[in-house]
């Protein structure tokens, strides 16, 4: 860090000038993003009338849009649903995938390579290819007509769909941890299973955190599965809920409320990103994706 600072202090103007077109392009793009998000944020505090007049703050700032959206139009239900699904699915994913990834990265056995290939290929399978039999199965078992089983189905699918990615991501992570730790543990008489839970899992914590952030974002934003398998407004997550809400608000003409709902849905992943962007960006290219 200190070294970087020192480099920064010396401004080489001829070099910066050469880079000017580059700066210009990036600044324009970023400016557009800021305007897009900023305007929607501003509009969520405005009124429908003010939005249409073109001057957003002509009628003052209205916090009640959020209260209205939260209470009247199910946003709270969708939000709490999504939060619950994401937290449960992310926890299950780690409990299921971390042991599998560890075993795949450490032990030689017959099907190891085949399983890894299978998982990697699964990441490229379009959802259309798997959704029909799953729906037939679940609907055939009459699981979509009861609230609790319907929720269980959604969580099961969120977990299942993310298993290959999570496993492969953690696999590369475990592979990079030195074997010396296990050898030391074995000499001290620690069984392999115990070694995993007590030593390896805590050591893999950075990787687990990164992959959990991705899983959280994925589950939070998941749309197609939720649309097909979520049978009622009571159990739907935010993405699908927002869609039905937008449609209804277009009829009632509550534009400000709609933007408030958009902001509510947008905030959790956005805040996560603000806090952890470095980790997220490093994770995009660090794990599952190899050049």
């Amino acid at each position: 860090m200190a070294k970087e600072k020192k480099v920064r202090e010396r401004v080489n103007w001829s070099k910066e000038l050469k880079l000017a077109p580059g700066y210009l392009i990036l600044i324009l793009w970023v400016l557009f993003t800021v305007v897009l998000l900023g305007w929607v944020l501003a509009a969520s505090f405005s009124t429908t009338k003010a939005i249409f007049s073109g001057d957003i703050f002509s009628q003052g700032i209205h916090f009640e849009n959020f209260a209205k959206a939260w209470n009247n139009s199910n946003v709270s239900t969708f939000f709490i649903n999504s939060l619950g699904y994401s937290i449960i699915a992310c926890t299950l994913l780690i409990l299921i995938c971390a042991p599998a990834a560890y075993v795949l990265s450490r032990f030689k056995f017959v099907a190891n390579k085949a399983i890894q290939t299978g998982f990697v290929s699964a990441m490229g399978v379009p959802v259309v290819m798997i959704v029909l039999p799953l729906f037939g199965l679940v609907a055939g078992m009459d699981m979509l007509n009861h609230e609790i089983s319907n929720r269980a189905v959604l969580i099961f699918l969120y977990v299942g769909i993310n298993v290959p990615y999570t496993t492969i991501f953690l696999l590369t992570f475990f592979a990079n941890i030195s074997r010396a730790f296990e050898e030391a543990a074995a000499i001290d008489g620690c069984s392999p299973m115990k070694t995993f839970w007590l030593i390896m899992l805590p050591m893999a914590q950075p990787g687990i955190i990164t992959v959990t952030i991705f899983n959280f974002i994925n589950v939070w934003n998941e749309y197609f599965i939720s649309l097909i398998f979520g049978n009622s407004d009571r159990i739907r997550p935010v993405a699908v809920g927002l869609y039905s809400m937008i449609n209804s608000m277009k009829y009632t003409g509550d534009w400000a409320g709609m933007f408030a709902a958009v902001i509510i849905v947008f905030l959790p992943t956005f805040i996560l990103y603000i806090l952890l962007s470095e980790k997220i960006i490093a994770g995009v290219t660090g794990g599952g994706v190899k050049g």
């Binding site: 560890y102 399983i115 379009p126 039999p133 799953l134 849905v265």
Partner: protein, 301 residues
């Protein structure tokens, strides 16, 4: 060793079970289903009627499905060119030693973490709105009344409106992959080239591009995989159930099987399965082509 065996089995079992339940079994069943006529999606196998390739033939003869495939191709091809060029351009600029590198990188990737429904709503209700929208107000300020009056979401402009909004969200991800590729190229090459008098453009053409072959392959594969699942954006941008401008195969499948679209002529889950198989074949084909056309094994870095 025996202990290890028990450990391998218990540690792998849950993940393998999920993989088989959610991927392996459904994939095989979809493949089989695509050769049958199946009236109800929950029908038992005994009620299925084997029809061979009928479902595929029927799909190919359906104008709406052909339109949806054409739209998907346009999204994949045009969108691919737009996204890849912008992503590469940004990646090159960001790795050229500018200040605020991590800020720019983070800002450009930002749309990727936002829910697609929220992002698409922002575009639809703000950027493309012709009363108070971004485009129309900017054009009005610049005095270009004719441009300000364009209805960005009418059937003439809708496809490109959709395409551009989608691409905006996708650039960041592919840019990150390009950046990691560029950063893996050794500084020595550029130094040597600078000593030999090569300018920035020449360095890009003769060093960066050839060494990025493998990264291109990754990017194209990832782009294809996400494009094939094109659904949310299409659903949000379409005003009617079967919108010729925005329909994609996945929307078509959804309409056929789950929706009460006005174009549903017959209930046949086999058709939906055939759509899935066709899309998967496209992904495999692109993957195979990429592997054969972009060989990077002769270059090591």
């Amino acid at each position: 060793m025996k202990k290890n065996k028990a450990m391998i089995v218990t540690f792998l079992a849950p993940a393998l079970f999920m993989f088989i339940a959610v991927f392996l079994y459904p994939i095989c069943r979809t493949l089989v289903m695509s050769f049958f006529k199946i009236e109800g999606i929950t029908d038992s196998v005994s009620k299925w009627q084997f029809t061979g390739l009928d479902n595929y033939v029927k799909l190919m003869n359906t104008t709406l499905f052909r339109t949806s495939m054409w739209n998907l191709f346009r999204i994949w091809f045009l969108g691919g060119i737009i996204v890849m060029s912008l992503a590469l351009l940004f990646a090159v600029i960001i790795t050229s030693g500018i200040r605020g590198k991590s800020f720019f990188r983070a800002m450009i990737y930002l749309p990727n973490v936002v829910s697609a429904v929220a992002l698409a709503t922002m575009w639809l209700q703000y950027v493309y709105n012709n009363r108070y929208g971004l485009l129309s107000s900017v054009f009005r300020k610049l005095g270009m009344e004719s441009l300000a009056k364009i209805q960005w979401l009418d059937s003439d402009h809708k496809f490109y409106a959709l395409l551009f909004a989608y691409c905006f969200g996708m650039v960041g991800y592919h840019m990150l992959i390009f950046i990691s590729g560029i950063e893996r190229i050794s500084e020595d090459y550029f130094e040597a080239a600078t000593l030999d008098g090569a300018n920035k453009l020449g360095q890009f053409r003769y060093i960066t591009l050839p060494l990025l072959k493998g990264v291109f392959k990754t990017n194209i594969t990832m782009w294809s995989v996400t494009s094939v699942g094109f659904f949310v954006w299409s659903q949000l941008f379409s005003t009617v159930t079967a919108d010729n401008q925005t329909i994609t195969p996945m929307v078509y499948m959804y309409m056929q099987i789950f929706g009460a679209g006005n174009s549903v002529t017959e209930r046949n889950s086999g058709l939906g399965a055939a759509v899935g198989v066709l899309l998967s074949v496209c992904v495999v084909l692109i993957f195979w082509l990429c592997n054969n056309l972009l060989k990077d094994d002769d270059l090591e870095f």
